[in-house]
C-alpha cells in the first residue's frame, strides 16, 4: 500500500476521532472499525511503530466499548493522542524516535530505552547489594508510616501529618536517588510538588495510590522484576490532579526536555562549568554546617559559613544570569542574615526550609549540568516562587511549624510558669532584641527557677534525640537466642531446685543462686522483648481497610484505634492479620447500618464508628473490634441454627453460644443468615486462626447498639501460661486460658447419665465429667473424685470438668514441640520442661474434650 493511502486513512481516522463521543457507542464502533482496518495495513514504507501503536489503540478503543476502562474520556484522549502521533510520523515524516507516544500506550520512542533498563534492573556500580536490600527492608515501615500520615491528613486532626509525610517522601527520595532508583525518586519528587501545589486540600486517594505504587514498586525491586506499573501512570495521575492555575506545571515534568519557555544560556559554558562544580562544593559544606546548626542553633561559626556559601553562590549566579539561583540565594541570605542578628532562631521549621533550599539548588545545578551537556536551554522552575515566599515568611519570623516543643511550652506544661508569664518574657525578649534566650529571660524575671529551666532544656534536648537506634538482626538468630535462653532458664531451675543444693545452708551459695535466678529471668524477659513487635503496622492496615470498605459501601464510618503500641510476639502478629480483616470487614459491611437514615432513626450519629482496641489484661493480649451498628440478630441466628439442627431446645441463647454458632463452619457461609443478621462470613477463618494461636474469641452484642468481638491471645507462642496438675505419676500442664475454675467436688454433685457417662453439677449447671487418668491410661491416679480436684475447662461454649489429683502450681513455661517421631498425638499439644528437668505434657483442651466425647 502506498504511503499516500495510509495518510488518507489516517486523516479519515482523525476526523472520526473528532466526532467520537464516549457516550455515543456507534461513533466509537466506527472508530474501532477504522482503527482495526488501519492496524492490518501492510505498508513497508511506513515505520512499523505506527502499526504497533494502532493495534494498541484498537485495544484501548475496545476497552471503551466494553466500558472496561476506568476513565473512558481519558482513554479516548489517549487514542486521539496516539493517532496524532501516528500522523506526525506518517504525514510529516518525523523520525519515530522524536515522537512521544502517550505513556499509557506502553510503547514509543522516548520510553523504550527506559523500559529496557528496568527489565534488566541492576544496581548502580557503587551500591552494595546488602545496602540495597536493607533499604528495601526499611521501606515497609516507612510505607506504613506514610499511610498513617495520609489517613491522618484525610481526617485533618493532625497538623503535623503533612510535614511528617513530606519528610518521609524527602528521605525516600534521597535514598532512592543514592541507590539509583530513578523512578522512585521521580515519583517522590512529583508527589512533593503535588503536596506543595494542593496544600491541605490534597486528594487523599491520589496519595494512597502513590503509596500503593511505592509498595508495588518495592515488591518489584525485591523480586528484581521490571516495573509492574510504570511510573508514568502514577505521575500522570499526580499531574492530572494539580490545580489548573498552576499552568506551567507540564513544563516542570519535562525538566530535561526542550520546552518553548526554555531560557537559553547567556553565560560562557566554561564559566558555567566552573560554577557548577564550585556551587556543588559549597552546597556540600552547607549541608554539613546546617547539620551542626541543627544540633546547636547558636553555633555562629556554622551560621556564618552557611551565609558565606549562599553569598558566593548568589554573586556568581547573578554574574552568570542564573536568575533562579540568584533569587533563591538572595532570599535565603536574607533569612540567614536575620538569624545572624539573632532576630530569629534557626531551628525546627526554619532550618528545614534551609535544607529545602539546599536540595532545590542541588537539583537545579544537576539540571543545569544536564542541560549544559546536551547544549540545550534550561526551563525555569515554577515551584521556585513558592519556595521563595516560604523563605520570606520564615525570614519575617513566621516559622511554619516547630517540630520541637519550645522551651516556653515545656515550662507551661510542667506547670512551672503560666502562659501569660511566658508571653511576657517573649515580649521582653523581642523588645530588647537581645541575644538572651527565653530561658534566661524567664529566670531574670523570676518566673521560673533556674533549675526548672535547665530541666526543661534537658527535656527539650532529650526530645530532639529521641530517635531510637536500631540494629537489624536476622530473625533466625533471635529465635536461636531465645531458645538458648530458654535452655539456660531450665538449667538454672534445675540447679537451684536440686535437692542437694537446697539442703546446702550456706548463705553465700543461696545468695549467689538468687542472683543467678534473677539474671536468668531478666535475660528471658529481654529475649522475649526482642521478639515483640508493636501492633501499629497491622492496625494501620486496618485503618486503610475501613476507609476503603466504607467508601465502597457508601457508608460513613469513623475509625478509632487505641493501643496500637501494644507489643505482641512476631509469630502471633503474622496470624492475627486475617482474622482482623474478617472482623473489621464484618463490622463495616454488616455491622454498620447501610443508610444514614436507619442510623438517624435509631438515634445514632450519622457517622458509624468502628473501634479497634488492643490492651494487655492478665498476661494476655486483648484485641477488640467494636462497632456501633445494629448488632447481631439473635433471632435469625437462632432460627438458622434450629433449621440446621444445631440446637434443639427453645432456650434463649447467651452471647457466647451465639458466637460458637456463627463460628460453625458452613453456618457462617449461609447466605440467609448473612443477609438477615449481618455477621458470619469468614468467621471460620477467624476461628481457625485464633485456635492456632491458642487464643479464644468472645462476642457481646446489644441489638440495635452494636457488637464487640474480642480476640484474647497469648502474648507469645513460645511461652504458655499454664497450670501444672498432677494425675497419678504423671504431671500435665493445662493452659490457664482454657481454665474456668477448679473446685473440690462433693459426692452429691455427681450424676450418672445412661449412655453419657458422668455429669457434674456446678452451681446448678450440669456438665460432663471426665477423668484424665482413664482417658490417658495413667496409673495410680485417684479414683474417688471427692479426694481430687475438678478443673473446669472450656472450649468455646463447651465446658467440661476434668478430674486431676492435685494442682501443683501455675507457671510460665517455654513450649517445646513434640518431635515428629511420635506421630499423631491426641489430647496433647506440646511439651514443656518442668522445674525438675523432666518433661511435662501440655493438654490440648479441645482435643481432650473431643477424645472424651468420642470415647
Amino acid at each position: 500500500m502506498q504511503i499516500k493511502t495510509v495518510t488518507k486513512k489516517l486523516d479519515k481516522l482523525s476526523k472520526t476521532l473528532v466526532m467520537a463521543d464516549v457516550d455515543d457507542l456507534p461513533s466509537i464502533g466506527e472508530l474501532l472499525k477504522q482503527l482495526e482496518g488501519f492496524s492490518k495495513i501492510d505498508c513497508k514504507e511506513c515505520p512499523s511503530i505506527v502499526f504497533e501503536a494502532s493495534s494498541k489503540a484498537v485495544a484501548l478503543a475496545e476497552k471503551i466499548v466494553l466500558e472496561d476502562a476506568p476513565d473512558r474520556e481519558a482513554t479516548l484522549d489517549v487514542v486521539s493522542q496516539t493517532v496524532s502521533c501516528m500522523q506526525s510520523i506518517v504525514r510529516d515524516g518525523i523520525d519515530p524516535k522524536e515522537v512521544e507516544f502517550p505513556p499509557d500506550l506502553g510503547i514509543g520512542g522516548e520510553k523504550a530505552p527506559e523500559v529496557l533498563d528496568e527489565s534488566g534492573f541492576s544496581l548502580p556500580p557503587n551500591v552494595d547489594e546488602e545496602i540495597f536490600s536493607e533499604f528495601l527492608a526499611n521501606q515497609d515501615s516507612v510505607l506504613e508510616e506514610m499511610e498513617g500520615c495520609i489517613l491522618a491528613i484525610e481526617k485533618g486532626d493532625d497538623p503535623e501529618a503533612m510535614d511528617v509525610l513530606r519528610r518521609l517522601l524527602h528521605t525516600l527520595k534521597g535514598e532512592a536517588g543514592a541507590l539509583g532508583l530513578t523512578d522512585i525518586g521521580d515519583v517522590c519528587h512529583k508527589t512533593e510538588d503535588f503536596l506543595q501545589a494542593t496544600g491541605s486540600a490534597t486528594p487523599v486517594d491520589t496519595l494512597l495510590a502513590v503509596k500503593d505504587w511505592f509498595a508495588g514498586r518495592f515488591e518489584d525491586y525485591r523480586s528484581k522484576n521490571r516495573a509492574s506499573e510504570p511510573a508514568d501512570v502514577i505521575l500522570s495521575r499526580l499531574l492530572a490532579r494539580q490545580p489548573v492555575e498552576d499552568e506551567a506545571q507540564p513544563e516542570e515534568v519535562k525538566e530535561h526536555d526542550e520546552s518553548p519557555q526554555a531560557v537559553p544560556f547567556e553565560g560562557d559554558p566554561t564559566l558555567l562549568g566552573d560554577f557548577i562544580s564550585e556551587a556543588n562544593e559549597h552546597l556540600e559544606s552547607v549541608d554539613a554546617d546546617l547539620l551542626n546548626l541543627e544540633g546547636d542553633p547558636n553555633n555562629q561559626d556554622a551560621l556564618n559559613a552557611v551565609f558565606r556559601a549562599f553569598h558566593t553562590i548568589k554573586g556568581t549566579g547573578a554574574f552568570l544570569n542564573l536568575d533562579d539561583i540568584k533569587e533563591l540565594a538572595h532570599a535565603t541570605e536574607t533569612l540567614l542574615d536575620r538569624a545572624r542578628k539573632g532576630e530569629i532562631v534557626l531551628a525546627g521549621g526554619a532550618i528545614d526550609i534551609v535544607f529545602d533550599v539546599v536540595d532545590r539548588m542541588k537539583r537545579y545545578i544537576a539540571d543545569l549540568a544536564a542541560s549544559l551537556s546536551k547544549g540545550e536551554g534550561l526551563s525555569r522552575d515554577n515551584s521556585l516562587p513558592d519556595l521563595i515566599s516560604k523563605i520570606k515568611a520564615v525570614a519575617s519570623g513566621n516559622v511554619p511549624e516547630q517540630a520541637d516543643k519550645k522551651i516556653g511550652e515545656i515550662l507551661v506544661d510542667s506547670g512551672v510558669a503560666t502562659p501569660e508569664e511566658v508571653d511576657d518574657a517573649l515580649a521582653t525578649q523581642e523588645s530588647e532584641a537581645s541575644e538572651k534566650k527565653l530561658g534566661q529571660v524567664m529566670v531574670e524575671k523570676g518566673y521560673a527557677p533556674a533549675k526548672e529551666v535547665a530541666g526543661a532544656l534537658r527535656q527539650q534536648q532529650a526530645a530532639r534525640g529521641q530517635v531510637k537506634e536500631t540494629v537489624k538482626v536476622d530473625t533466625s538468630r533471635i529465635d536461636a537466642l531465645v531458645d538458648t535462653i530458654g535452655e539456660l532458664v531450665i538449667a538454672e531451675t534445675m540447679v537451684t531446685q536440686d535437692p542437694e543444693v537446697c539442703q546446702n545452708s550456706s548463705i553465700r551459695v543461696q545468695k549467689n543462686l538468687r542472683q543467678l535466678t534473677k539474671v536468668a529471668r531478666e535475660l528471658q524477659e529481654l529475649g522475649m522483648a526482642m521478639r515483640m513487635v508493636s501492633l501499629k503496622g497491622i492496625f494501620q492496615k486496618m485503618a486503610r481497610l475501613v476507609r476503603d470498605l466504607a467508601k465502597k459501601s457508601g457508608k460513613k464510618v469513623n475509625f478509632v484505634m487505641s493501643g496500637e503500641d501494644t507489643e505482641i510476639d512476631r509469630s502471633v502478629v503474622d496470624h492475627i492479620g486475617d482474622p482482623l480483616i474478617h472482623l473489621i470487614r464484618n463490622a463495616v459491611d454488616h455491622g454498620i447500618e447501610s443508610s444514614e437514615k436507619d442510623r438517624k432513626e435509631a438515634g445514632k450519629p450519622e457517622y458509624g464508628t468502628v473501634e479497634l482496641n488492643a490492651f494487655h489484661k492478665g498476661g494476655n493480649i486483648y484485641i477488640e473490634v467494636r462497632d456501633d451498628g445494629r448488632g447481631l440478630d439473635k433471632g435469625a441466628i437462632f432460627a438458622k441454627a434450629k433449621e440446621k439442627g444445631l440446637i434443639t431446645s427453645d432456650d434463649t441463647l447467651s452471647d457466647q453460644e451465639i458466637v460458637s454458632l456463627i463460628l460453625e463452619p458452613g453456618f457462617s457461609t449461609a447466605k440467609k443468615v448473612s443477609d438477615v443478621s449481618g455477621r458470619g462470613v469468614g468467621m471460620d477463618v477467624v476461628k481457625k486462626n485464633i485456635e492456632a494461636l491458642r487464643g479464644r474469641i468472645e462476642v457481646s452484642t446489644d441489638p440495635g447498639k452494636g457488637s464487640t468481638f474480642t480476640m484474647i491471645l497469648p502474648l507469645t507462642l513460645a511461652i504458655i501460661d499454664g497450670m501444672t496438675v498432677k494425675v497419678g505419676v504423671e504431671r500435665y500442664i493445662i493452659p490457664t486460658l482454657s481454665i474456668v475454675e477448679s473446685i473440690a467436688p462433693k459426692a452429691d454433685m455427681f450424676t450418672k447419665v445412661v449412655g453419657k457417662g458422668e455429669m457434674i453439677s456446678v452451681r446448678g449447671e450440669l456438665m460432663p465429667f471426665f477423668r484424665i487418668s482413664r482417658l490417658f491410661g495413667v496409673q495410680d491416679a485417684k479414683e474417688d473424685p471427692t479426694t481430687g480436684l475438678a478443673v473446669i475447662v472450656e472450649n468455646g461454649a463447651d465446658q467440661v470438668a476434668i478430674l486431676v489429683d492435685e494442682l501443683i502450681g501455675q507457671q510460665q513455661t517455654v513450649i517445646k514441640g513434640l518431635s515428629d517421631g511420635l506421630g499423631d498425638t491426641v489430647g496433647i499439644s506440646g511439651a514443656s520442661i518442668l522445674a525438675d528437668g523432666s518433661v511435662g505434657l501440655i493438654l490440648d483442651v479441645p482435643g481432650v474434650i473431643k477424645m472424651a466425647m468420642e470415647a
Binding site: 518431635s819 515428629d820 511435662g840
Partner: protein, 179 residues
Amino acid sequence: MANSNAEMAVGQDVISEANAAMDKKAAGKYLTFRIADEIYGIEILKVQEIIQLQEITKVPKVPDFIRGVINLRGKVIPVMSLRNKFRIEDIEDTDNTCIIVVNVSSSKGTVIMGIVVDNVSEVLDIDADGIEESPSFGGGVDTSFILGMGKVDKKVVMLLDIDKVLSSQEGRAIEEMGK
C-alpha cells in the same frame, strides 16, 4: 572407609534387590548393643550420643513401643523401646539400660530419637567379608530393616537399618511378624 560409608547410604534402598552387592557396601563402623541375648548393630554415623536412662514422661495414646519423651538438654525427644518394638519380653530397667540417641531420616526430615537398649557393648569395625546377606524367612516376613548379618569373632551381629526400624510402616510390619 569413609568413601564406602557414603556409598552405603546411597545404596540402602536397593538392599532387597541386590543383597549380595549390598554386603560390600554395608561395611563400616557399627555401634553394637544387646537386647535380651542378641547383639545388634547400628551404623555409627546415625548415632548422636549415648545417655544414661533418665525419667521418661509417658505420652498417652501412642503405640506401646514408644516409651514416652525425655528432656535432652532442653529438647523434647521421643524414646522408643526396641524390646517392645521387636516383641521381646519386657524386663525391669537395670543400671546398664541406656538410651542411644539416633538421627533418623524420615519423610519429614531428620528426627532425633532415643532408643532404649539393655546395654551398649562396643564399636565394631566390620568389613565387607564379615557381612552376610540377611536371611530370608520366606514369604510374608519382611527383613528389609536388617542390613545384613555381621560376623565378628564367631559372634553374629544383626545390623539394623535404623531408618526402616523406626519408620511406622515397617514398625507395623514388625508387629505383624511378631504375631
